[in-house]
Amino acid sequence: MTTYQLDGLSALGDGTRRAIFERLAAGPHSVGELAAQLPVSRPAVSQHLKVLKEAGLVGDRADGTRRVYHVNPEGVAALRAYLDRFWNQALAGFKEAVEQRPKEKK
């Protein structure tokens, strides 16, 4: 499972994939809709979606002739990826705060 999870966490390390994930968090979108909103080509969007899907962060379903993508609401992967980033950000803030304190106990 480790490889799968690291994929899940690192999947959001890419700026374009994060932008795609955010748009899907706002609601389901097709590849075409995503490509129209982002400065990347349809094939590039498809490639990013494939990575997000393999990481368990998004799912897809057929809607007529097109395929619609959504944030995966079943798995813990999306929450985990989100909280991983949150805590790394929070701890970085803590490091900054604690190291700015005068050294009292040298």
């Binding site: 994930f21 609601g27 813990v76 929450l79 790394n88 701890l91 803590f94 900054e96 705060a97 604690v98």
Partner: protein, 164 residues
């Protein structure tokens, strides 16, 4: 800073240049000084964060309008080494009142040497937040839901990323 995850938990750690006791004190008594500013579940602006320094205590946010949100219970309080709090927050950043659907976060403060402390974090039992994720699904479409957190998060992670 490293990060890894197991199936229903997130783990990460960081080394700070501070003795163990100081690290623990700043972490708990001065939580507002380092907690990400946008990550509160109050309706209005945050006035202060209060950390009750005992087992059975609470962590709560106080808004400028006087509103109070108790978002964590202090489960273990062992200064300056260990701290476990509950995470009474839904995936869409709202207060979770059903305690069966809350997770918990353990922080360990391990002295590396006299001047450095490693803070290890484990946020576990994430599966307790519930299958189906209906709440998140509803919330992610709202402007105040996940989106806002993600936007703030992106700005910060970009900053952090740029400094790496």
């Amino acid at each position: 800073m490293t990060a890894q995850a197991t199936d229903t938990a997130v783990r990460t750690s960081i080394v700070v240049e501070a003795p163990q006791e100081l690290a623990f004190d700043v972490f708990t008594k001065e939580m507002a000084s380092w907690w990400p500013r946008d990550h509160h579940i109050l309706e209005g602006e945050l006035a202060e964060m209060v950390f009750e320094l005992e087992e059975g205590g609470r962590i709560y946010d106080v808004g400028v309008d006087g509103s109070i949100c108790r978002w964590a219970r202090v489960l273990v309080f062992q200064p300056p080494e260990c701290l476990v709090i509950s995470w009474d927050i839904t995936p869409d950043w709202k207060l979770q009142t059903d305690l069966d659907k809350t997770s918990e976060v353990e922080f360990r403060f391990l002295p590396e040497d006299r001047e450095h402390t490693r803070v290890e974090l484990e946020h576990r039992h994430l599966d307790r937040h519930g299958g189906g994720w209906e709440g998140m699904r509803d919330a992610v479409g709202s402007p105040d839901g996940w989106n806002r957190s993600l936007r703030a998060l992106r700005e910060r992670t970009d900053e952090v990323g740029a400094n790496r």
